[in-house]
Amino acid sequence: MLKDITLGQFFPGTSIIHRLDPRTKLIGLIAYIVALFTAGDWVSYGIVFAFLATCVAISKIPLKSFIHGMKPLVLILVFTGILNLFFTTGERVLVQFWRITITLEGVERALFMMGRILMLICGTFLLTYTTSPISLTDGLESLLSPLKKIHLPVHELSMMMCIALRFIPTLIEETDKIICAQKARGADFETGKIIERVKALVPILVPLFISAFRRADELATAMECRCYHGGDGRTKMKLLRLKRFDYGTFFLLAVLIAAVIFVAQLGL
């Protein structure tokens, strides 16, 4: 049952978006979010949406997976919608009953906010769908490396992320095994009240933690054996290099932000 968990869903592919440098994609996402939050009217929204739609189309990732990923967030979307719908004051009243008034401005604002959240999520999905977790960590490490100057342990953080990602499937497999072993000895995880079920998890968590610590200890020894001594003097096999279409992307992003700002200026 635990096999279904997928973390950092990544769809391997060969599109231009897939082949972009992870740093470009990370910067791109930030620029996209800036553009999205600068956009204040429907025209600039249209521009940002067109940009997103083009990127999704180029990436060739099925729309279904975006919708699938959106499911857990429906609640937040609905909540935002309702809040904005009821609590926006305006003059053009549409419906009024009891203490609640729904105005045209409210409807507009609710749609606006929901659109913003949707586009924000789709943008981040596009990043995780097209970038493998390792290249994402590599990109982050490289982008954050100036922070080493102020003694932020950037290399250590990315190493930790990398190892965590590496051990997720191993530990999931282990959990499955422990669950089976406890079931074989008569443990019951499916019936009973919530408190009983939570209590039933203890015999799973204790062995899991013990084994995780043992693994960590062995891994540390193995890493030491392979001459690991922190990030100093360490080299990389795969060097990140910006290519021509990375620079192209930067140009497009600049155009996007400029266009949004320009439209916002006109709108005044």
Binding site: P133, I134, C162, I163, L165, R166, P169, T170, E173, R215, E218, L219, T221, A222, M223, E224, C225, R226, C227, Y228, H229, G233, R234, T235, K236, M237, K238, L239
Partner: protein, 282 residues
């Protein structure tokens, strides 16, 4: 022939927790391993095999005596990296020694730590993966490989650092027969073709029989030492310390107890059958 590893009067005891006394593993152990040889280390559980292995690359430091690797003292902090570069180590559980989530990235981990330039790492990784026969799996995720394949990736990770010596601590203990065969073939090939010194710690007598030299440890001392034929013919001694000889030797030993006079150095099934044939014909 030069000396790869030499252990001189090694004493080691695990430190005790709080007030409990420590556990002494070695008191005075002497052992010399020549370069380019394939040495198997046998011994029952708790005799100090793994502890000894950890002394070979400074994971544990001697409490008394010295361990030299290629002439370098393992307790010298300045030589730490050079010692670990010279002696690579492979452990029992392949899952707990693979660091990265792509095969080739994992093999590159060692050379990356040594600070080698990117193109040279690429070359080493490709060579190492080809040597263990895992080149076509270079872009796979390690958790999708079989145990034998994972262990071979771990070996590739060690040989990418180009060590002179590889210490394997029960590398086949968690593998199925097919995985065991793959790993053993890889080890033997590395020893023959690359002239890498191999120290194999194992519980499998048939694996030890493939070595050039077998060292049997018992209670922190070298109990038997010699070629597989010499060591395994001491069936009585092996039994006394809780070990067994390979099945063919055991068979001959049993027959000898019934009045036959077979020699006890037939380690190969083929050889053993031939010897039996000779005896029965006469």
């Amino acid at each position: 022939m030069s000396t790869a590893i030499s252990v001189e009067h090694l004493a080691y005891s695990y430190p005790g927790v709080e007030d409990t006394p420590g556990v002494a593993v070695f008191e005075d152990l002497n052992l010399t391993i020549e370069s380019g040889t394939f040495v198997a280390v046998l011994g029952s559980n708790g005799c100090g095999k793994s502890t000894l292995a950890k002394h070979f690359n400074s994971i544990l430091l001697p409490c008394g005596g010295k361990v030299y690797v290629g002439g370098m003292d393992t307790s010298d902090p300045d030589k730490l990296i050079s010692v670990r570069k010279t002696v690579g180590m492979v452990f029992q559980n392949p899952d707990n020694q693979i660091v990265a989530n792509v095969v080739e990235e994992d093999v590159a981990f060692g050379p990356e730590n040594l600070g080698i330039a990117a193109p040279a790492i690429r070359q080493r990784v490709d060579n190492a993966l080809k040597q263990v026969g895992m080149y076509e799996y270079r872009n796979h995720a390690p958790h999708l490989l079989s145990g034998g394949q994972k262990q071979r990736v771990a070996i590739a990770g060690v040989i990418a650092m180009e060590p002179k010596c590889i210490v394997l601590d029960e590398p086949t203990a968690m593998l199925d027969p097919k995985g065991r065969r793959e790993v053993m073939e890889t080890i033997q090939r590395l020893n023959c073709e690359k002239n890498i010194t191999v120290v194999l710690i194992t519980h499998h007598m048939d694996e030890a029989a493939k070595a050039q030299r077998v060292v049997v440890l018992h209670k922190g001392c070298v109990c038997l030492d010699g070629t597989p034929k010499q060591v395994f013919s001491q069936v009585e001694t092996l039994h006394k310390i809780g070990l067994a000889a390979p099945e063919t030797v055991e068979l001959c030993h049993c027959l000898n107890e019934q009045g036959f006079t077979l020699s006890l150095d037939n380690l190969d099934a083929e050889e053993c059958a031939q010897a039996l044939y000779e005896v029965l014909k006469a």
